[in-house]
Amino acid sequence: MTSRPSRSAPGHGPEEEFSALVEAAWPSLYRTAYLLTGDHGMAEDLTQTALAATFARWHRLHDTGAAWGYARKAVVNGATSWFRRSSTRSERPTAVIPERAAATDHGREVGERSAVVGALAQLPPRQRAVVVLRFYDDLSVQDTAATLGISTGTVKSQTSDALARLRGLLGEDLADTTATASNASNALGGHHG
């Protein structure tokens, strides 16, 4: 997880503290939003909206961790709402898994990203959120349940269902992951942020 700034630096007002949170949390929240929606514009809007909502209740959030968690929850809720609303009027372009990209490193990354996002798009919104929170944001079952407002049992069952479906959709990519584990671990470094 990305390191988080302390909440109250001496001499800093609420807006400066919040701005520090924005700088620290933005990349991670953006990537979470992107995995949930597969859309850059929507990811940016969701992240902005979530952070704005976080600032609106800044005085009730007692530490930066709580604020970060609140923002993440707002991103997930916003993505779920967007998905419901957009289904009738628009489709996410990532719903189609594209052809494999060229066998360059960059091409591989882009192709892999498209495949991952396309596969996530095939999951129901709640399953998708469970997968992203547990396996990208590295939240525990309990924290995932709290973020989504569902029981831990539901998180477990949704995880099981989602993994079964992703195994079919991403079988090749998951196998590739094993083969490239050493490269991946180097790239991951701080994981995200």
Partner: protein, 375 residues
């Protein structure tokens, strides 16, 4: 597999091009939200006496009204628009580029910008960009633009962010989160009056601690809610009757509602929940306002569709709409309108015939905004 999936997710977005945050804009929006919360339920009352955001209209096109006035919160029933204007709107719908809004054959300018469009049979409801950014709860955020280019300020509370409209009626709906649940609001934009303010009868679902809901689709007399419990609720806002289904509603097509569950789509009767048709097309299709046509996409569709898009009737083999924008939206009379090439919109009729039209106000970098979309 869990560890592999985690690696794959991280690796897939590690090199994602993340734009820098606009902290000032986020702070501004945050202040706006806080301001709205402080005002709370007095928003609607305050709106009646507060400053009216200036919206100027300069009509262009075939003899449209120039400098059309704004009809305020006086509940005046506006005179009907001409048959020609209504027909043009029904056939072409509406879109916006920058601050230029086109409705049917008319184009007007909305000072301060356009945040969102919601289409109804009476015209298109514009959410004002300047109001959204300023966040003054006294400002009027919504204005109805009628097919003749005339405007009417609406009394819908500015705290409402998302409206869902009905192409077959002058109605819009939204959900208000209240203590212990949601209230469903239905509004007639033609008369600027509230039609319904009813409580979501579904207040709890097993396994969900905090039930939330959005309007998934609007019909008459149904409001269809989609919840975070993957449950849909259709509420008859005239009688209060409600039906709960295991699908998330996304469109109302007269007889049937289009709903989704995972990769499956369903057409079901909102009064009973009975499923009439079931589709496994991967991505959610969209349903024409009269319920006669589904607009399907390539990709996970079961059909091998080649390079074109498919629009398929429920009753007859479908026509292939080549080079149509997959983000196209329905017009009131059942055409699809979306982005075309080189600053145009492309309209396709159900028989497969398509036609392009230049977008007034389009320039490089200007986004085309369609009803129900974010910019």
């Amino acid at each position: 597999m869990a560890e592999q999936l985690s690696d794959l997710l991280h690796r897939s977005v590690d090199d994602l091009d993340v734009p820098p945050p606009d902290a000032a804009r986020i702070l501004g929006r945050g202040r706006s939200i806080r301001s709205r919360r402080r005002v709370g339920t007095t928003i609607a009352a305050a709106a009646a006496v507060a400053t009216v955001v200036v919206v100027s209209a300069v009509a262009t096109g075939s003899g449209g009204p120039r400098g059309a006035g704004i009809t305020g919160p006086d509940r005046v029933v506006l005179p009907p628009v001409s048959a020609a204007d209504q027909s043009a709107y029904d056939a072409w719908g509406s879109w916006a580029a920058g601050d230029r809004l086109t409705i049917g054959d008319r184009t007007i300018t909305i000072d301060g910008g356009i945040a969102a469009l919601t289409a109804t049979s009476a015209g298109v409801v514009v959410r004002h960009q300047a109001v959204e950014e300023a966040g003054d709860p006294g400002d009027r955020a919504f204005v109805l633009v009628r097919p003749d280019g005339s405007l009417r300020q609406l009394s819908i509370p500015s705290g409402v962010v998302t409206l869902v409209g009905d192409l077959e009626t002058p109605h819009v709906a939204w959900v208000e989160e209240v203590e212990g649940g949601q209230r469903i609001h239905v509004w007639d934009v033609g008369t600027d009056t509230s039609l319904a303010d009813v409580r979501n009868p579904l207040t709890s679902v097993e396994d969900v601690d905090e039930l939330t809901a959005d309007v998934g689709a609007l019909g008459d007399p149904w409001v269809h809610l989609a919840t975070n419990a993957d449950v849909g609720v259709s509420v008859d806002w005239r009688s209060g009757a409600a039906t709960t289904v295991d699908y998330l509603p996304v469109a109302d097509g007269d007889r049937y509602v289009l709903g989704t569950r995972g990769h499956l789509s369903f057409l079901y009767d909102p009064a009973t929940g009975d499923v009439a048709h079931r589709f496994d097309v991967g991505v959610t299709p969209s349903l024409s306002p009269d319920g006669e046509y589904l607009f399907l996409r390539d990709g996970f569709s079961l059909e091998d569709t080649g390079d074109g898009e498919i629009r398929r009737s429920l009753d007859v083999p479908g026509a292939r709409l080549r080079d149509i924008d997959v983000w196209s939206v329905w017009t009131p009379d059942g055409n699809l309108v979306g982005r075309g090439p080189d600053g145009t919109v492309r309209r396709c009729r159900p028989d497969g015939a398509c036609e392009d039209r230049q977008v007034d106000g389009w320039a490089a970098g200007v986004e085309l905004l369609l009803p129900g979309r974010t910019p």
